[in-house]
């Protein structure tokens, strides 16, 4: 398969403008500015079938088209580089190894909505990535790809690399915008959507790093070439971050619709040490865990994973072998969500801590009869009852772990100890 997203990764000095431009970089940007109207660009990306890679899978071209053209306020484009979903490390690879592709995609997206100020919001911990992006932005300014009167077209665009400061919730787009406004990273109710009321109340689009990094290729090769890859509804390629009990962890680029089992066993080398697979999370820590026999017929595309009861999410694949205690795994993720809840909505602020506390007592031999149903009850009272999707993300993992490994949870409660390992 021809790589689209990883095409420059592994090339010497791939982060430098000379390398990137030498491999055809910024030609798509030039083509867009010199020869395409924003509406044509939006139609092209719509036709490519590209869907947002941040987790929700919303069609990118359609997202752009929601920005009102006649609104007199400034418009903003934000690249969401706040990659924080447990088990996900694909954006960091692109940021560090191919920063110019991320920048070129950001510029193309900004042009589509006729924004003159764009931001790359990168998570604060990624100091190395932020430094690489800042240097790359400086190079692109010097080359005239960013700034005033780009390619003599009269189009002006500024790009600011903005560092977050350690808050998972800022990956949620309205929280990200609150953070970018200089506030606590608190999500906002939708509607109104950022496309009409985003940063400082102005029309704003937030696109994920991986989504943006696909744009230069789509412009260069055309929408039909991209749409020819993948399945009917999930077009193109996607990055998968694989971690946990797996022989060859790392970032892989796959054509959408690739068989899940084949991927884990052949491409990733399977579970090491002759151990058996016990469970796998397909789309980052907030997505429901799947059993080995559930992945047998699943393909890695949005529809197939959803039909099997989970979600493709960020493509963060976390593999757990037979030695894993599933109570402990659920506890680990619940602790994550309890720590990261922003505290605005009571069901999430209180419920995440309750679920963590109950899972903790089950794992450490203090579980009580009725605890499992209590967790499911709390999860059910969080999901759908919060301002942002964090509530769902926090509620899904414990629910899925209990439903799929109920016997193991019950044994912990009955025997008053961890029954694994």
């Amino acid at each position: 398969m021809e790589t689209i997203l990883l095409r420059n990764v592994g090339v010497a000095d791939s982060h430098m403008l000379a390398t990137y431009a030498g491999r055809g970089g910024y030609r798509s940007w030039q083509k867009v500015v010199e020869s395409m109207k924003p509406a044509e660009l939006i139609d092209e990306v719509k036709a490519s079938g590209l869907r947002g890679r941040g987790g929700a899978g919303f069609p990118t071209g359609m997202k752009w088209s929601f920005v009102p053209k006649d609104n007199p306020k400034p418009k903003y484009l934000v690249c969401n580089a706040d990659e924080s979903e447990p088990g996900t490390f694909k954006d960091r690879l692109l940021i560090e190894q191919d920063p110019h592709a991320v920048i070129e995609g950001t510029l193309i997206s900004a042009y589509a909505i006729q924004s003159h100020t764009a931001f790359i919001y990168i998570r604060g911990e990624m100091v190395y990535g932020a430094t690489r992006l800042e240097r790359a932005v400086e190079e692109a300014y010097r080359a005239g790809f960013i700034g005033k009167n780009i390619f003599g077209s009269g189009y002006d665009l500024d790009l600011i690399v903005h560092r977050g400061a350690g808050a998972y919730i800022c990956g949620e787009e309205t929280a990200l915008l609150s953070s970018l406004e200089g506030s606590r990273g608190w999500p906002k109710l939708k509607p109104p959507f950022p496309a009409t009321h985003g940063l400082f109340g102005c029309p704003t689009v937030v696109n994920n790093v991986e989504t943006l990094a696909a744009l230069p290729w789509i412009i260069e090769r055309g929408a039909p070439a991209y749409a020819a890859i993948g399945t009917e509804k999930s077009k193109g390629t996607k990055l998968f971050s694989v971690s946990g009990h797996i022989a060859k962890p790392g970032v892989y680029e796959l054509e959408m619709g690739y068989p899940f089992k084949k991927f884990l066993e052949e491409d990733c080398g399977g579970v090491p040490g002759g151990k058996k697979l016990k469970g796998v999370i397909p789309g980052g820590g907030s997505m429901p865990v799947m059993l080995p026999d559930e992945i047998d017929k699943v393909n890695l595309d949005y529809e197939s994973v959803q039909a099997a009861g989970s979600l493709l999410g960020s493509g963060g694949v976390i593999v757990m072998d037979e030695s894993t205690c599933m109570v402990r795994a659920a506890l680990n993720l619940s602790r994550f969500f309890a720590h990261e809840s922003c505290g605005q909505c009571s069901p999430c602020r209180e419920g995440c801590h309750w679920m963590e506390k109950i899972l903790h007592r089950i794992e450490y031999g203090q579980g009580e009869q009725g605890d499992l149903d209590l967790i499911l009850n709390i999860a059910g009272n969080i999901a759908g009852n919060t301002i942002c999707p964090f509530g769902d993300a926090a509620a899904w993992p414990p629910g899925a772990f209990i439903r799929k490994f109920r016997g193991e949870f019950e044994a912990h409660v009955a025997e008053k100890r961890c029954t694994v390992g």
Binding site: P74, E83, S84, E85, P86, G87, T88, F89, D91, R92, T117, R123, G124, E125, M126, V127, Y128, D158, I160, H162, R163, G164, A165, G166, A167, Y168, S179, L180, E181, G182, S183, R184, G185, F200, S241, V242, S243, G244, H245, P249, G250, V251, I281, G285, G316, I318, M320, T324, R328, A329, N332, L333, R335, F336, H339, E340, C342
Partner: protein
């Protein structure tokens, strides 16, 4: 004496604010400047930033206390942050944390008496393919085991 930026940092502050469409958007970068200059963001630093940013200290405090990367209390020269989230936990993060605790004689959240190290556990740092891992100040250290950690700590004075 009240805290204030050095002339060099003040210049950086002005340049930073000038880049943003609205002054308040520069809050996080300005707080980073303050943390770099003052070491941590205590009440005096927060008041100073509030004055610079034309906001109330309460509002700045609200922002500082929300984000884990802003330290409201002094920390050691080397801030060890061990990732504890699922992928790292599956690959032995707890062993790494236990080793560091034993080696430095401190618990999570504590600083060594000589002010050299502070130990924290943090959530997923997007380095799951190279688990277990930790971040010390700005650097990532990946594919850790006890021997590697011992060498890393030795080299940080």
């Amino acid at each position: 004496m009240a805290l204030e930026f050095s002339p060099g940092t003040l210049k950086k502050f002005e340049e930073t604010v000038a880049r943003y469409p609205k002054k308040e958007a520069a809050m996080l970068p300005v707080l980073y400047l303050a943390q770099e200059e003052f070491g941590h963001l205590g009440p005096e630093a927060i008041e100073y930033v509030a004055t610079l940013m034309e906001q109330t200290p309460a509002r700045v405090h609200g922002v500082v206390s929300f984000y884990t990367m802003f330290n409201m209390k002094p920390i050691g020269r080397h801030h060890i942050q061990v990732c504890r989230t699922l992928s790292c936990a599956l690959c032995g993060a707890e062993r790494i944390t236990a080793f560091i605790k034993q080696k430095l004689g401190i618990e999570i959240g504590q600083t060594t008496a000589d002010g050299r190290f502070t130990l924290s556990e943090v959530e997923c740092l997007a380095s799951c393919g190279t688990a277990p891992m930790m971040q010390i100040n700005d650097e990532y250290y990946e594919n850790l085991n006890e021997d590697k950690v011992a060498v890393i700590l030795e080299n940080l004075k």
